[in-house]
Symmetry: C2
Subunit: 579 residues, 2 copies
């Protein structure tokens, strides 16, 4: 390998080698601006998502230093902002609840193990080139899952928002009864702090402010104000609680002491029994986190005509999660809202993320005492506002209009996630999508075709006025031939021949067949053989290049004889005496 | 509903109403002949398969009266011979072993419950129109399963063949060590009876006899002799054991007393806990039994240009299994060998099966004492000879030549069935087939196409000398667009646009797209939107009729504007100024 190709190889594994040497000073302004704004958004979010996952607030902050830095080195996206995200935090949290762990220490071990396992799984997917596993989750299923997860997240935060002392749960009916049963025990001061925070954030995002803006402020200033909503409510919340000593006078739950200092790095000690138990969860975290990250990265890249390398993203998120694990954090991914903030604030390169990571370290070293009086209800308000955007009512309506079966998959996933939990829900949904697809392609569109006038064109005899012959049947199959439809294929052909007792030739037109698998090949072989006994010769026409290449590797074409392979239907019909 | 359509409806649910009124006397000869020969084959087979399933011999005989009669009434095949079959008996047997049941009574309860459950499952599949579930098992997986099951069956019979007293097992390594460890305890008389029976049956089927036949006997007489092999060895075995009192003198295991009389009919008492435990097994029995039956029925029907109605077969086998259950039998299916015998012996209609059922009743009423001295080793010999035909070495070779991934699925299923049992094996295999298909269609063939000379034809720019324009890219996708390849689609298009910075229009050519699901529609929508921000307009061309019909139900075509839908690629390129 010469030095040039070695360099290119390094660049493709370490994209930082590509952008850093070319870094120009004029890019720095945007990157610094974005780095600062993302940090402001990230600090409260990271603590809030740690609370959602059932972990102490500093764990959320720990998950922001090394993972962000590693993604900046390995990631193929220029503007993706990684860190704790809602869906993944929910899954971590519900696992911790369901495992019925005794103490904080065990919960931390589960979180670190999950980060390590999802990192390893992503790297394995990269090495084994199995990244396409993520493709098995269809959009409607993902949409049902996301909406249901958002509902669960909001429900799980209501107790913090209202200051209730109910047990944690991940099941909708239980969460519901818990809250209604304890509604009288509401902590009014906590609830006012939480609900008014939601009000402030919604106001800052609303069109009201925009209308105000038309009078005095520039759009850019407005954008910055709406983004700093969490900062405003966090700082005013801290000041109010501290000033009025609400933690003592009104029993408002506060974050309390956060240990200062950077996370200490250590190889996590992994318990094999725990690994086995957590395997399905880790797999779902890896898949869901990667899916969210890649779709956000793609959305941002396309706007600037940049590339996203899906394989490189597996590597980057794998390394990033391992980084979270060794720095005592929980699984991370690329978040939608935060990445949009990064992009909109002018991030040009991953340098913005490196600046965010540095600022997060500064915060961990010096600013943690500031958060002592931060009330839980304000963190809950931040989570609720940020995940409420994930509830997508219209997805069901759109799916229903276009495709009832897909809409059904969405609805079933939504209901299953709410009632039986995230894992069962998403697995059921994925199986359902696959089942629907296989079922649908198991009964493909098949048309008996005939000649249009005296032309060389052939069309469906049921839709067009066409000419046919009694002794030759031409049949077009509009689907790949594979195991799911071999039975249908056999049935259709048997019935076709039974209905046309004069037929002596059958031409199977493969213009829409992109693949013939081993099952279908065997079925074709059987059909050829059986029809031979029934006095009918089978021919093929319009086979595509790649399909033909494979057929040549099998004895099928010999066994087809005296049946032939024709380039066009026209040629087949002419040669078989039907012109 | 008028009386004519009511009659047609009845005929489609009860095919006997179609063939019986038209029954002509000249059909009777063939039917009687076939009925007698099938009975001769069936009696020893039914007892042997009951032994394989770990049940008393009469249970096998019970499973031949009502199920056969019911299939004759409801079945759409004219010549399928139902009854106990090897694969299903093996699954019943291995379930009974694995459940570690204490007595015969419990084993019987499991068998009857399985028959009832698979009957109900088949009827449910009929009602819910879910017959296509069986399509999810690909041919290579089925082939791997069948071969491995045959190996397991043969291994399970070796102890009976050689007169060993080893515990029953369904796992290959255990069965192997059991036999080798006890090989010294072989019962020589039993082994000689068994092995010589295999020799006689193989000789009667061999070409040797055929060569002899060229000298003296007609082919027809030879066919009958080869088919009566089991009858010959059973009767001579009984006579030898009785004459020499081998059961007492040489400790040869014999069938012993079989209770005479027809099975008493009763609604099986079903235990809910047992039903839940047996659910996966019952599902596999229903699926595998139905698969075998339908493929045999199709093979026979095609030769006479008769029809097979897959939905009606669900009903017929469902009813037939319920019949087995209420007459105290175990699950049944259409057997390959026996149906071939039925067909070759001249069966014209299901009347042949009705005759078989009557003769089986006669045997149960009067002939059971005759089988008292029948040695187990001869039953084992019959099973071994009949299932050895199921081991298909060439299937792997064929699959390997044509498609390495399918061959791998076959091999994995084979190994999993042998080592982990039939259920885990076939489920793994089915998941593997589905995974392979989804993986394959997740990275479809995509070609950027250009104009061939001045023609209206467009071809892959990598394979042909074609003309292109800088500002218009035409891309053909050779696959259905669905959730498994939406990510690939997005990636491909992002990269294509990133590589062609001058492009202003993208034409997606859908001539090979037979389906666009909701995920793919959403992905297309996202692509259109993102490319609009990047200054590229997306157009579609050559959309198929059924795909277009669905697209019209969605807001996509409006959102595509100013992008257009063109009938042909030629038209698209001309209108976009690239001609």
């Amino acid at each position: 390998m010469n030095s040039q190709s070695r360099l290119n190889r390094s660049k493709s594994i370490l994209p930082i080698l590509d952008w850093l040497p070319k870094y120009r000073r004029e890019l720095l302004g945007g990157d610094i601006n974005a780095g600062i704004i993302v940090t402001i958004v990230l600090i409260p979010q990271a603590m809030a998502y740690a609370m959602l996952a059932g972990l102490p607030p500093q764990i959320g902050l720990y998950s922001c230093v090394l993972p962000i830095t590693l993604y900046a080195v390995f990631g193929s996206s220029r503007t993706l902002a990684v860190g704790p995200v809602g869906l993944v935090s929910l899954i971590v949290g519900s696992t911790i609840i369901e495992m019925d762990l005794l103490g904080q220490q065990q919960a931390l071990a589960v979180a670190v193990t999950l980060a390590c396992m999802s990192g390893v799984l992503l790297l394995l997917m990269r090495i084994l080139r199995l990244g396409s596993v993520i493709n098995f989750i269809s959009h409607p299923v993902l949409s049902g899952f996301t909406s249901a997860a958002a509902v669960l997240i909001i429900l799980s935060q209501l107790k913090h928002l209202l200051g209730l002392e109910t047990p944690r749960t991940v099941h909708l009916p239980e969460a519901f009864t818990n809250i209604t049963a304890h509604l009288s025990e509401i902590n009014l001061t906590t609830a006012i702090l939480g609900v008014s925070s939601i009000g402030v954030m919604l106001f800052l995002r609303s069109d009201y402010l925009r209308k105000l803006g038309e009078l005095k402020l520039s759009t850019r200033a407005l954008d910055i104000i709406s983004r700093t909503g969490p900062l405003i409510i966090v700082s005013s919340g801290i000041i109010i609680v501290w000033w009025l000593a609400l933690d003592k006078n009104a029993n408002v739950n506060i974050v309390g002491a956060i240990p200062a200092g950077l996370p200490s790095l250590s190889i996590p000690s992994i318990d094999i029994a725990l690994v086995r138990e957590l395997f399905p969860t880790a797999f779902i975290i890896a898949t869901v986190g990667y899916l969210e990250s890649v779709s956000v990265a793609k959305a941002l890249a396309t706007q600037k005509r940049q590339k996203i390398d899906a394989d490189q993203e597996l590597l980057a998120h794998g390394v990033s999660n391992l980084g979270a694990s060794i720095s005592g954090g929980f699984p991370t991914a690329g978040g939608f809202g935060r990445s949009m903030v990064n992009y909109d604030s002018g991030a040009n390169t991953p340098m913005a993320s490196i600046i965010t990571a540095i600022l997060m370290s500064v915060a961990l070293l010096f600013l943690t005492p500031l958060f002592y009086f931060l009330p839980h209800s304000i963190l809950a308000a931040i989570i609720i506002v940020s995940v409420s955007a994930l509830i997508d009512y219209r997805a069901f309506k759109h799916a229903w209009l276009y495709d009832k079966a897909d809409a059904l998959a969405l609805l079933v996933t939504f209901i299953m996630v709410l009632t039986l939990g995230v894992e069962v829900g998403i697995l059921t949904g994925a199986c359902l999508s696959i089942g629907i697809y296989l079922h649908r392609s198991s009964k493909p569109h098949v048309a008996v075709i005939g000649r249009v006038g005296n032309s060389e064109h052939f069309r469906n005899i049921d839709r067009f006025e066409v000419k046919t012959c009694q002794h030759v049947i031409a049949m077009r199959i509009d689907e790949n031939l594979y195991f799911s439809n071999t039975n249908f294929l056999e049935d259709t052909i048997i019935n076709l021949i039974a209905e046309n007792q004069q037929a002596r030739h059958l031409v199977i037109v493969c213009s829409s067949v992109n693949m013939i698998d081993a099952s279908a090949l065997e079925a074709l072989d059987t059909i050829v053989d059986r029809l031979r006994h029934a006095g009918v010769t089978v021919h093929l026409a319009e086979i595509k290049g790649p399909v033909m290449d494979r057929l040549k590797n099998s004895p099928f074409l010999q066994r087809l004889q005296p049946g032939q392979v024709f380039l066009s239907t026209h040629e087949a019909m002419k040669r078989l005496g039907c012109s």
